[in-house]
């Protein structure tokens, strides 16, 4: 056990720090939360964010663990963690749309044909915006029951069906789409993945406003959409495997962002409490300290999980962290609203010193215990896969 990072790691951090000092655009600095009220940008991906992602790629700082041609510098897992830590502490995002670099790129590198792998650099650099078509009206947590159909007809598939909650679909160039290719086998065994060009005739994207009023996801309808057979990722009917892998390079450090975000929120709350004289209230003090304690415990747990990850062991800490961080975020933001008293539910920028910041973050935080495996699903995973309790 050891507390400090070694000198080589600190040198890596310093090098990253110099790059960030020099290149990070002002809009990216202290942008703690892309969903906060001060960032209600009509364009989902502002120009500065596109430029910034490209700059990170070109300098080998987009996915440090990848080689230079993929926007990295062959960094070690520890260096990658330090990278995540440093960006998170400075509140600097890499990108405002994660599907391309975080999900599609690693999946194509692992399962794609050589032709498909050529799509990877643009996915990481952000030149191509990707969306992920998994969820459907009747397939959420139970993803394997998806029913969007793709029928093979000569050298093309014909796709019919519907996706929902598809983030970035209205601006995406491509979709990484899960489809049913065999209805006569158990549900996990008849799923395949297709790459869809969003400009293909028969694709109808209908934006959905989310809880904050902005439109970041959409419904996507497919009517006789023709997809070249070459766009099949991996083997036919082997799509379930692709849901399981991805992001091997970064998995050990992905928690950093969530934990830093919640720690920053606690720090903001303490600052706000002091400004409003609420830090003299013993109940407020105790509650803030309790959240600080939980967040600090999660940070330590993240490092513990990373330690086994870096040694090549699989680390169940990932599920613990996803679950606990998403739930703690909700509690912290709710306390922020509470501390604002009558102003807690006011979003008028002229009135509230925080202009609805906490209420907005609170509402947005509902997503984190739902998307990407709900809190209940995380508990099922912990109980069944980590603790070995029997399924029913």
């Amino acid at each position: 056990m050891q507390l400090a990072w070694g000198p080589e790691e600190e040198a890596f951090r310093a090098e990253l720090g110099r790059f960030l000092d020099e290149h990070a655009p002002p809009e990216a600095r202290r942008k703690r939360d892309f969903t906060t009220a001060d960032n209600r940008d009509d364009r989902i991906i502002p120009t500065w964010a596109r430029d910034w992602q490209a700059a990170l790629f070109d300098h080998g700082w987009m996915i440090p663990g990848y080689p230079p041609e993929l926007g990295g510098r062959n960094a070690t897992p520890v260096q990658t963690l330090i990278y995540m830590e440093e960006l998170a502490t400075r509140g600097i995002p890499r990108s405002v749309h994660f599907p391309g670099y975080a999900i599609v790129a690693p999946s194509l590198l692992e399962f794609g044909t050589d032709e498909q792998k050529r799509l990877v650099p643009a996915a990481i650099r952000g030149d191509t915006v990707w969306c992920i078509g998994m969820s459907e009206p009747n397939a959420g947590s139970d993803l394997a029951s998806l029913s969007t159909r793709a029928v093979l007809d000569g050298d093309r598939f014909v796709v019919n069906g519907q996706k929902v909650w598809t983030s970035y679909a209205m601006i995406a160039g491509k979709c990484f789409c899960y489809v049913r290719t065999d209805r006569d086998v158990p549900k996990h065994k008849g799923i395949s993945v297709l790459i869809l060009d969003m400009a293909t005739p028969g694709i109808d994207v209908r934006p959905l406003r989310n809880i904050s009023g902005s439109t970041e996801f959409a419904e996507v309808f497919f009517t006789d959409v023709e997809v070249p057979r070459d766009n099949l990722v991996g083997a036919l009917n082997d799509g379930w495997r692709i849901t399981q892998g991805s992001l091997a390079h970064e998995r050990g450090g992905l928690w950093v962002q969530g934990v830093s975000f919640v720690q920053q929120a606690v720090a903001d709350l303490i600052e706000m409490a002091a400004r409003r004289g609420l830090d003299r209230d013993p109940i407020v003090r105790r509650q803030l300290a309790a959240y600080y304690e939980q967040a600090q415990g999660l940070r330590a747990l993240g490092y513990k999980g990373f330690s086994s990850f870096a040694q090549g062991s699989s680390a169940p800490e990932h599920s613990y962290l996803k679950l606990a961080t998403s739930e703690l975020q909700k509690s912290v933001f709710e306390l922020g609203m509470e501390l604002l008293g009558p102003l807690g539910a006011v979003t008028d920028a002229e009135l509230g010193e925080q202009s609805g910041r906490f209420s907005h973050s609170f509402f947005m935080s509902f997503a984190n215990t739902i998307a990407g495996g709900s809190a209940e699903i995380q508990r099922n995973i912990i109980a069944q896969r980590v603790l070995g309790l029997p399924r029913r």
């Binding site: 830090d279 105790r286 600090q296 415990g297 330590a300 980590v386």
Partner: protein, 315 residues
């Protein structure tokens, strides 16, 4: 930042585990309720390990996790964490903390098996007395695996000045050391409960296949993992003299307290009626969990102290 155990640390943990499995079965803990001398032979074994108190706190914590899991009675904790932390010469010893110095422990822990008692009195000053000749009044408590005493300060006691920084460091390392014992107790509660959930059947299925039970166990595992990490993080900051250590010590004790309480409450819930019997060992661990929660500051007290560090304005 590395949380993996070195080979030596693995060895230490395994040694402690084996020693306690052999010398401190739960039958001994039970026997000790009625006859306190039942645990005397255990103390002879543990006394051989007290020099862990002079080494890194991480190593001590690994050992204490196992004494906590075994509910080991005796003055191992006070000697290695508290007494050794004052740097006042050889133990075994315990510490009598005046409530005016730190209002966390109005009683003296395990005073009967030690040779020396260090009275920490306002000033702060410290006076080390031979245990022989002191009046010890046993205090009945929820947790029979620990021994609490009232020990009046002898009339003519005069102390030596105690560096407040040493006192603070002793308290902080003691919070973390106790938290490590609590991790062991909580872990054992969790393990017993998990095993029971897999084995006990109702409605033709193991109760561990019911989602309400699964989610409780998932929550227990989570808080336990979080507390483990917080405790060893704190121990590492103390060993490194890192400025984070003051906060980390409070985080550790509060976090271990929350874990121990949850594992106690949901542990008995998942056991059903059998857990409510004197016969079943579960209550011994629950008693220890709550006894420790109230020893050296409750979780709420540590949250309040943490709050003082985070928000310097006094309430």
């Amino acid at each position: 930042m590395d949380f993996t155990l070195t080979d030596d640390q693995h060895l230490l943990r395994d040694t402690a585990r084996n020693l306690l499995a052999k010398e401190c079965p739960v039958a001994l803990v039970r026997a000790h309720i009625d006859d306190r001398s039942a645990a005397d032979p255990l103390w002879k074994h543990l006394a051989e390990w007290t020099e862990l108190g002079d080494g890194p706190l991480v190593g001590l914590c690994l050992f204490l996790e196992e004494t906590g899991a075994a509910l080991a009675p005796g003055p191992f904790l006070v000697t290695t964490a508290m007494f050794a932390g004052l740097g006042i010469g050889p133990g075994p010893g315990t510490v009598a903390l005046s409530p005016d110095v730190a209002p966390v422990m109005p009683f003296v822990l395990d005073a009967d098996l030690v040779e020396r008692v260090a009275f920490v009195l306002p000033g702060p000053v410290v006076a080390v007395c031979d245990r022989d000749g002191l009046y010890l009044r046993p205090v009945a408590a929820l947790d029979p695996s620990r021994r609490l005493f009232e020990v009046p300060v002898p009339a003519d006691t005069r102390g030596e000045p105690l560096d407040p920084a040493v006192l603070q460091a002793m308290l902080e390392r003691t919070y973390v050391a106790l938290a490590a014992e609590m991790l062991g107790t909580a872990r054992r509660l969790f393990e017993m409960t998990l095993a029971y959930a897999k084995q006990r059947e109702q409605f033709d299925h193991p109760i561990g296949s019911f989602q309400a039970i699964q989610h409780k166990l998932a929550n227990m595992a989570l808080v336990l993992e979080r507390a483990w990490s917080a405790v060893y993080y704190a121990a590492m900051t103390i060993d490194a003299g890192d400025p984070e250590r003051h906060r980390a010590a409070h985080v550790a004790k509060a976090s271990a307290g929350e874990a121990a309480k949850l594992c106690a409450k949901d542990g008995i819930q998942i056991h059903g009626g059998i857990g409510f019997t004197w016969e079943h060992d579960l209550h011994l661990y629950i008693r220890r969990a709550y006894g420790d929660e109230h020893l050296l500051g409750t979780s709420a007290w540590h949250h309040d102290r943490l709050g003082d560090l985070l928000m310097p304005t006094a309430p």
